[in-house]
Amino acid sequence: MNTILKASVFICVCLWPTYAAVDYTKFSHSTPKHKAACNTCHKIPTKDWTKGSAFPDITDYPDHDACVSCHRAQFFRGARPPICTVCHVKTSPRDEARYAFRNPATKLQFTIEFPHDRHQDVIALRQTNPWRSKLLAHAPQQNFNNCTICHAQATTATTPPTGGWLDAYAPPAATFKAVPLDHSSCFNCHWKSQEPVAINCNGCHKLATTPYTTATVPVRISLKFMHDGGGEKKQHVAECTTCHINITKSATLRTLKPDVPITSCTECHNKDGLRQDLNTELAALDKNRAFTCVYCHTSNVGKLDAPASHYLIAQRPPLKRSAIK
């Protein structure tokens, strides 16, 4: 029994710092007492939302009341209470300045649920009517809602990753599409009557198992593909689902992959009388097994074995680099 006691004391002593030293400079939504209904602290919209937003939104941190009810002791601890730094830039009773909400320097604590399939259904037309354009040639161009409601063309180049761009290839702004960074493209439908409504934060945001940061550069197999590219005629500009073939069946963002098949590219890039970009690189690989495919890829991908799909679309048997003499 004495040994059990000793072992328990040993474990408690080892684990004590983990549980005892609370860092009040960091706020965690995972703390059991912070898991109350969101509107206990976050009022939607923020009282003075018009000062910082064109639409009703959560634009600022909760009021002091939200914290003081439990953390009165921490609020009055010393001249510069650490707890103030969760929201405030300076710890001073005379300076109210707060970090941007939400603070971009802190890790994300919630994941986002977004069913692409359902949204695609809701905005679907009865038909993108091929007859209408013939019958109503005079009709004005309609701005149909589609993926660009949320994924507009990025207007600025992506920030380089730490250590710089691979092969010194800096993708231009036309490469990537944007993603929503605020609630404007959500609340315009889900404000108060279309569930999940604005005050039902949990309808879209789920507490992540651990805080995380998102990748600064989107993961791409073909980094050199430009969404807003395709030559002078911008032939890459098509309906998103033409290439992203699995989006319309995706009910969640979990495990969502871009899923663009090689056939989406070879419709133009490996066509008789048009272009032979794939064939050209496969032929170069035939001659030199160290050849790096660079037309679409950076070297991290271009030096790998070409996948079977590439050979099949070029009507050739799949080949490994090691088999090339």
Binding site: A124, Q127, P130, Q194, E239, N246, T248, K249, P261
Partner: protein, 263 residues
Amino acid sequence: MNRRARLLLVLIALLLGLPLAIGHSQSQDAPAQQSGVVRLRARVKLNDSAPLRGLARKRFFLIPGSLEQNRALVEAIERQPLVTRDCYYTKNGASPALIAWLKEADCESVYCRDVEQDFVTGPKAVPEFATAFATSEKEFANAATARKWLTTNLSPNLRDGFYRDRKAAIDALLKQAQATSGAAVQSVMTDRNGTAFFTDLIPGTYVVTNLIPTEIGQALATWNCELQIKPDDLASEKPYLIANRKDRLVKCIAIEKPAPACQ
């Protein structure tokens, strides 16, 4: 150290190690299995002399099993009551102006395109939009936001009731389909050219269906056809053309019924 103490320490070690073990087992990728892809192309004609054209933005489903195995489901698909878009909106009290706005761009719901200023105020205004806009303007104190967010002040039936009714019908049929086949049903939506892809298919027999009828002119079209995926099909995309008229390459022809009169 006695036996009980050792047991306690082992238990603690297990408890601490368990999350690591789970994390590790979940990170193991399953071995890649070769699977097939069907390139579905949906083409329709308004009449016999018109050319086949792509059927855009329509959802299709791939149900495991043969037509015979899914007979009860196919019968349920054919038996379901048919409500056209115009009948739905008329029945739910939509103004003629709103129905005309939907028709103008062939929209199923108010979410299909922007509501331009002309339809909010002035002689072309749609009464439902004008009322919702006035409420939104008071609420959001900003005309631009009020127009962009005016659907938040529309009645639920006019806002997305047609979609919800159709989704309820689809969900009921999907439940039946999954109960029959015991497997997941894939669904995809066609792009603007009428093309969509079913992916990750294993060899077997499937039923291609749209579950609820598609309005084509004055007719309602339903597709229920059998599709075989053979081991030889796994290496490449299998093209599968469906249409509402016979044609040389068409593999599946819709059954068309005249759209019922509104009740």
